[in-house]
Amino acid sequence: MDTSAQNQPIVVERLFRASPERIWQALTDLDQMKKWYFKLDAFKPEPGFEFQFRSGTSDGTQFLHLCKITKVVPCKMLAYTWQYQGVPGLSEVSFELFAEGTGTRVVISHSGTDSFVSAGPDFALASFTKGWTYILNISLATYLSES
């Protein structure tokens, strides 16, 4: 029975005016990750390395993200599992880098997000979206205006 419609990964991509080496740094260097991604306590681009970070909403709801690195090909590919503490489901995120002209195409694939659907709309449509909006619009904007 075909249920593939629910199992397709989400894919987003963009061409950057930067070398694969430069992008790789931004994806894997702890200090650089803090500036655009998430604030982690530790990060090492090594298979099996586990890391976690909290992100949440302005009203204090927090989701602890749990990740474990599954694949590392320097300057080419980074993949890790992506889960939420206390929420059933398991997904995986990969970042692929392709040299293109003088730039680099970054392709992000997130598979298994449908495994979170059993967590229901409370998880999905309320707190979670608010969390992202907060992180992206408020935290990042604050960081950029201060730096």
Partner: protein, 105 residues
């Protein structure tokens, strides 16, 4: 109290299969049940849950009972997935901003 929503409906592979089966064309209830190796009562339970979740209706026509899909409610699930797309798109924006900033500093 058990929650009945579209997320619960599609959390189960048999229920997803039932939706796929009736999505394009309504099906006789018996014909649906015959497609699966599990018991009639088990199929009935799945169909009942799908009805309660608003993804399926049963229509009586003469002596036959038909399953019809009501897929509008699946939009909620599509929206759920779209959130992740929006999230990663925003992250690409943030990366771009960071790289530009870094280049000029």
């Amino acid at each position: 109290m058990m929650r009945r929503d579209v997320f619960q409906a599609i959390a189960d592979p048999t229920r997803r299969a039932i939706i796929n089966l009736v999505a394009l064309k309504r099906q006789n209830l018996n014909a649906v049940a015959e497609q699966f190796d599990i018991s009639r009562p088990a199929i009935s339970r799945h169909i009942k849950i799908l009805q309660e979740c608003g993804l399926l209706v049963i229509k009586q026509q003469g002596r036959e009972r038909y399953c019809e899909a009501r897929l509008q409610n699946l939009r909620e699930v599509a929206l759920f997935t779209e959130q992740f797309r929006a999230f990663w798109t925003d992250k690409l924006d943030a990366l771009e901003t960071y790289l530009d900033q870094d280049e000029h500093s």
